[in-house]
Symmetry: C2
Subunit: 344 residues, 2 copies
Amino acid sequence: MPEITIKDIARICGVGVTTVSRAINNHPDIKPETRQQIQKVIDQYGYIPNNSARNLKRTESNTVAILVRGITNPLFNSIIKVLNIELKRHKFSMLLQQVDYEEDEVALALELIKEKRLKGIIFLGFNYYHPEGEIEKIKIPFVLGTVGAIDGDEDCSRYSHVTVDDLRESYRMTEYLIKKGHRDIAILSAEEKDSSVGKLRLDGYLKALADNGIAVNPRLIIPFSDTCEHYSMPNGYVTTQSLLSSGEKFTALYATSDIMGVGAYRALREAGIRIPEDVSVVGFDGAEMGDYVLPKLTTLKQPVEEMAKAIFDQLYDLINGTCGNKNLLFCGKLLEKESVREIS
Amino acid sequence: MPEITIKDIARICGVGVTTVSRAINNHPDIKPETRQQIQKVIDQYGYIPNNSARNLKRTESNTVAILVRGITNPLFNSIIKVLNIELKRHKFSMLLQQVDYEEDEVALALELIKEKRLKGIIFLGFNYYHPEGEIEKIKIPFVLGTVGAIDGDEDCSRYSHVTVDDLRESYRMTEYLIKKGHRDIAILSAEEKDSSVGKLRLDGYLKALADNGIAVNPRLIIPFSDTCEHYSMPNGYVTTQSLLSSGEKFTALYATSDIMGVGAYRALREAGIRIPEDVSVVGFDGAEMGDYVLPKLTTLKQPVEEMAKAIFDQLYDLINGTCGNKNLLFCGKLLEKESVREIS
DNA sequence: TTGTACGCGTTATCAT
DNA sequence: ATGATAACGCGTACAA
């Protein structure tokens, strides 16, 4: 079955292909009645323009791509929601693409730029392991969202980041526990060698301990389990179990993400440990779920909406050439709920 | 800046474009050393083939698209994970596309078919409101996943469905509560006019009541709140609150999705109602979260993995022409956890 | 084994 | 306001 093309429509209408093209793309130079007649034929025959051909020919588009690594992350969902609104308001069309864990987002971006003539790109959950010079091949504006700021070196000015100040906020969260009288604070976190957010949150924890004269107990630092997805409820569950079975004493548990905290809740409960009477628990992120467990989870809320807006604004400015790269660090908000007890 | 094309590579290498094309596409008819030399130049210049041009030229691809409405749904995530594996194993490349709430998935599908020369399509969370004859325009194999079976009329054989038997399982869940001695069973569900899953689950509830000689109390049927996302924790929370403030008596609460159940937990707790001592609660879906709240939520687990496999198998058979449309109804599994109490 | 030349379906340019 | 035609970048007969 021969696919129907613009030529067919032109022939049927007795006009030139250019005219049909004009009708499709809402060009001004066309007589209203001609347009209507063409539209009618298009509907009748169910003609659908071939995007490959369009993109091939077009020199530019109004498309902004969002490349998300880990679409499961509820944080990203909120960000995407806001971005969707902003992009629409500014007449961009949005292309949302999932990035697989083993996939190379930069390679994907490079392909898409050519294929879709992108105006800009937003990376969510960007990975930093790319070979030197690879990222520089992206010649169009792009913004890195919520990826963990790189330690304060020169890297920051080469790209645009929008992220919460993970190091500082993690420090704050840890210090909060210390101020509540806790000294034996266990942490569920990424390993030391982790390259992004996880590492920063761990560093904040370590720094807070150091600044308060508390010796680090390595046995209280529990790395993610590789038996299940990182930053998931099961991961919080199994890591807390292994913490408990180690027999190490602790009065507070810092889960570096709320959903892990929820997993920790279960492990603690099953061990007959009460929250916060026996052990205080805190999370990170400000996930919705934290308000739906008992006791409500004390957490550090990331200002997701503002960050999403900042991501868009930054990209918008880059596209318009009205600003250079910026590294926007956001402050979080410590939400005191019910999962922490002050001890003497 | 002129983008680098296949011609440039050919010129640089001193070969014809055909040879370069062969190198890119791993064609057999090419001398290994030629290929290597070409590859080297490609890497050096960072040449990336333009997919629009490729798709335009190609008559077919090995791509299967998954069109998801509501990527947030954890159920879909599990399904996608399995599909990803299956598709890879059979050398399909997978294209995952989010469908916006106001977007028309059939129109999108039609575009993609032309643009990417799709081999098949999988719809997750399909909406049924499409104008007559619209769906028939899709001339390539497609499968509808987890959409709620249409009431047993002829529709079923026109497309391929894979879904849990919502009506029956909802019936079973309700009957389970009845057998436990409950007669005043509140339900958080879609409205009567809802067209898919929600309606079926409500119907199952109604039928179970009727079959057991229990009069329906309309004040115990709480429709989704439109103030927040359907099938979400907040929705379960606010609907349960309105149920409570109605003053209507009930001994069991049936949330037609687990995350709504979790929301209900909170509302009940805040009202000083104990689960399951004062009120029994059940959910639907078998979401991971149900195991992380206290008490663990009794639910009806959808056999997600098997369903995902069935979706793939069905599509695969359709593509190979080895079967016609099928309507696969899966059974769920009632998981008795801790949130239901037997009453006299 | 390799190269030439054409066409995929569309839009931009330039006529008319 | 409309039409003819040349690209866009690639794959592939077909020829060599």
